[in-house]
């Protein structure tokens, strides 16, 4: 069951989206988020929805994978939608009901916004290898090095975390099966009981994660890792024509959405 978690997974491919410079994609995602939070009317929402779908099509990412990733967020999405549905003032749908037309409008937009937000970030992690991603992030954060921020160490930590997600998920699955085989019950009981049942999974998981970290550190040192200084890259980052076009389009879109906000569409 845990195998379904697709968070932070990379699907190798050779599409335009895959080939974009990771820095471009990072900037685009930031622009995308800014645009998303500045949508007001249905036109701007629709525009972003269509754009997202087009990007997915181009990147060859199937809807199925996005939905899989959305599953863990379902609770938050439903909760926000319900809150908006019931707590928005306006004209009731029918005499005496709490649900208002405005509430409906807001709830749907909220669902759309959260879903698109997650989808946008998935588009980034699905099409960019963690190494490239952290590489891009390191380049973008480079100015912070002057302020003595350990940028390389931070980005390396991030890439290691992403690298070990599938490994640790597999491990969790194994531990759960082992506990289940000895009679552990993870599915019944109330929330507190279930949370308690997770403890015997977390302890061995943490122990093994620390052991892994130790072995990984030794393996990295054995392969001459000695910090970020003097490191080169196999795939040096450089912007190409597509990157400039994509950045221009992204900036134009965000600006457009902000303008549209002032007209209320």
């Amino acid at each position: 069951m845990l195998k379904d978690v697709t968070l932070g997974q990379y699907f190798p491919g050779d599409t335009v989206v895959h080939r974009l410079d990771p820095r471009t994609k990072l900037i685009l995602v930031v622009l995308y988020i800014i645009a998303l939070f500045n949508t007001r009317g249905w036109v701007s929402n629709g525009l972003i929805l269509v754009l997202t779908l087009v990007c997915m099509r181009v990147a060859n990412i199937r809807l199925k994978n996005i939905f899989k990733g959305l599953k863990p967020m379902l609770f938050i999405i439903v909760l926000t939608a319900l809150l908006n549905l019931f707590y928005t003032r306006g004209t009731p749908i029918r005499e005496g009901w709490i649900i208002t037309w405005e509430g409906m409008d807001r709830a749907v937009k909220m669902i759309l916004r959260i879903t698109l937000l997650i989808t946008g970030t998935f588009l980034l992690t699905y099409t960019t290898s963690p190494m490239a991603l952290t590489d891009g992030l390191e380049h973008l954060l480079n100015p912070l090095k002057k302020l003595k921020v350990p940028v390389h160490a931070l980005t390396l930590m991030m890439s290691m975390a992403l690298r070990f997600i599938p490994t640790l998920i597999e491990e969790t699955d194994k531990i759960m099966s082992a506990q289940r085989a000895r009679g552990a019950d993870f599915e019944t009981g109330n929330l507190i009981q279930r949370a308690k049942a997770l403890l015997p999974i977390l302890v061995p998981l943490f122990v093994s994660a620390f052991r892994r970290a130790d072995e990984l550190a030794v393996a990295m040192e054995s392969r001459c890792y000695h910090g970020g200084e003097g490191r080169t890259r196999m795939n040096e980052l450089h912007y190409t024509g597509i990157d400039y076009i994509a950045l221009l389009l992204g900036a134009a879109l965000t600006a457009g959405i902000i303008v549209m906000k002032h007209f209320g569409v």
């Binding site: 990379y10 890439s159 290691m160 990984l216 990295m220 392969r223 001459c224 890259r233």
Partner: protein, 286 residues
């Protein structure tokens, strides 16, 4: 011939431990040779491996890699580049989600220009037969494939020595065969010195030299066939010997006069058959 790795009376004790994990080890490994180090758990064989590229430093004595002392910080990178190390758990030594990026990790650390890294990565992957998988995610590969990627990751440093610390312990028989034949080929074709740490007796048979360790000491050292001849000693250490030698040893113990050191199954059977025929003839003559 000058040794590529040389231990000079090395003693080692882990901090917070009350006994020596290595006691007075002196041994040298010849360049281009295939060496196996055999021993059961806790015999000190992994500790010995970690001394070879300066991950652990001797408490007493010294370890020389191509004449460089591992205790000297200035040579550390050069030593680690000379002696590549592959570990038991393939998952815990792969650093990237893409095979070729993982193989590129070591040359990137060494500050090699990007075109050359590309060349080295492609070569390394071809040498272990994983070139077609260069864009794959490592966690979706089989154990044997992962371990071959790990070997490629070390090869990309262009090392003179590869030390493998129980590389097959977590693999199935197919994966084991893949890994063992890969390192044999590398030793033969690329003249890379191999030091294989293992507790599988059958992986040592084809080695040039077999070292048996127990309780932090070297107890037997020589050509595999010479080492396996000491059936009783091996048994004391809780180690297997090849089945053929075991059978011949038992038969000789029962009064037969057979050659004690035959590794090929067929050859061994012929000796036993000849001996039986001889006895039959003798019985007839009576």
């Amino acid at each position: 011939m000058a040794f590529i790795i040389e231990f000079e009376s090395v003693r080692f004790r882990y901090p917070e431990s009350d006994h020596d994990s290595l006691c007075d080890i002196s041994i040298g490994f010849e360049p281009g040779s295939f060496n196996a180090i055999l021993g059961h758990n806790g015999s000190g064989k992994s500790t010995l491996a970690k001394q070879m590229n300066g991950i652990l430093l001797p408490t007493e004595g010294r370890v020389l890699v191509s004449g460089m002392d591992t205790a000297n910080e200035d040579h550390l990178l050069e030593i680690r580049q000379t002696v590549g190390m592959v570990f038991q758990n393939p998952d815990n030594q792969i650093v990237s989600n893409v095979v070729e990026e993982d193989v590129a990790f070591a040359p990137e650390n060494l500050g090699i220009p990007s075109e050359e890294i590309r060349e080295r990565v492609d070569n390394a992957l071809k040498q272990v037969g994983m070139y077609e998988y260069r864009m794959h995610a490592p966690h979706l590969l089989s154990g044997g494939q992962k371990q071959r990627v790990a070997i490629a990751g070390v090869l990309a440093m262009q090392p003179k020595v590869i030390v493998l610390d129980e590389p097959t312990a977590m693999l199935d028989p197919v994966g084991r065969q893949e890994v063992i034949s890969t390192i044999h080929r590398l030793c033969r074709e690329k003249n890379i010195t191999v030091i294989l740490i293992t507790h599988h007796m059958d992986e040592c048979i084809d080695a040039d030299r077999l070292v048996v360790m127990s309780n932090g000491k070297i107890v037997l050292d020589g050509k595999p066939i010479e080492v396996f001849r000491n059936v009783e000693r091996m048994e004391q250490e809780g180690l297997d010997v090849p089945e053929t030698m075991r059978v011949l040893f038992d038969l000789n113990l029962a009064g037969e006069e057979l050659p004690p050191d035959v590794l090929q199954m067929k050859c061994c059977a012929e000796y036993i058959a000849a001996s039986l025929r001889k006895r039959e003839q003798e019985a007839w003559q009576k």
